[in-house]
Symmetry: C2
DNA sequence: AGCTCCTGGTTTGAATTTGAACAAGGCCGG
DNA sequence: CCGGCCTTGTTCAAATTCAAACCAGGAGCT
């Protein structure tokens, strides 16, 4: 390819900012959720997906894909959430292999209680810091990058 | 605050794209570096910082801060890198408590051998996917967000 | 010196993540 | 219906991460 081998100053700035923001933001969100609701950021995301799904339940694999997480990692987390009573497993009638993770009422309550503070923090630390143009650029640019990575696995 | 409680469609798109890109990119980079050079992405970043530092050495704390990583996490990684012969520890004459992590020649070689492929992948998966405007917006916007998070610890 | 508080790194143990191996069902051509 | 092959989810051991507790060593004050 005719691409330059290294990154110029602007590209380096973007790359570093991207990595730094990701690391810092994740740590903050994790901390807040653990203190406030006793769940990790990953667990919060699991609850969000389940809550938004029809019948508040999803197959393990669907969930793993949606979270860009390994299957074994998800098995672990669902087990934890099940112990905490926020989720329960249900096996599928059609396909014996399949397992549905279902959000319990307790899980829904924890989610509803945690969501406002979580969203407020996402806003404060990221969304509201960006100008409208930057917001659009991030959505478009990083959205394209994500799709690209999902496309060529 | 008079801020809306939830995120609108555009904001949600940006937020999801940001999280997805971070997760996917990290996984890819980690994979490539492990296959190609036998080191993790975090270890690669450690080598990069050391290589760029005067005398190719940095204090443990400086390194931990630069990587947005916990001190204990860094202790672990430096121990691993030391076992692999890519880094060695040196205690400071002035302050007995302080420890310098120094890049060895072997470490420098591993870095030089891994860097081109790594940069090429960063380019392919992120940098070259962004338009020039998007690149600037990411650098500015996420840079501002990072500084903000570092400012109010 | 003696005392207290701050700093730099390490240790420790629990929680989590990872990837490979596994068990069991499905799916499909022969 | 059989056999090979793909898919689902779990299990397992090893590697990594995290946070809290822990050692010293400095720094400043009396």
């Amino acid at each position: 390819m005719g691409r330059p081998a290294w990154l110029n100053e602007e590209e380096t700035r973007a790359w570093h900012a991207f990595m730094a923001a990701g690391a810092l933001l994740n740590r903050r969100l994790d901390q807040q959720l653990k203190e406030g609701a006793g769940i990790s950021h990953l667990q919060y995301e699991i609850l969000v997906r389940l809550s938004a799904a029809p019948d508040r339940e999803l197959r393990m694999t669907e969930l793993a894909d949606a979270l860009y997480n390994s299957k074994s990692g998800l098995t672990y987390q669902i087990t934890q959430l099940e112990k905490a009573g926020l989720v329960h497993r249900r096996s599928c009638a059609n396909d014996v292999r399949a397992v549905y993770a279902c959000l319990t009422d307790a899980g829904q309550r924890v989610l509803e209680q945690a969501a406002p503070g979580h969203v407020a923090l996402v806003r404060e630390l990221l969304i509201d810091v960006l100008t409208p143009d930057q917001l659009t650029a991030v959505a478009d640019g990083l959205g394209a990058a994500s799709r690209r990575m999902l496309g060529q696995p």
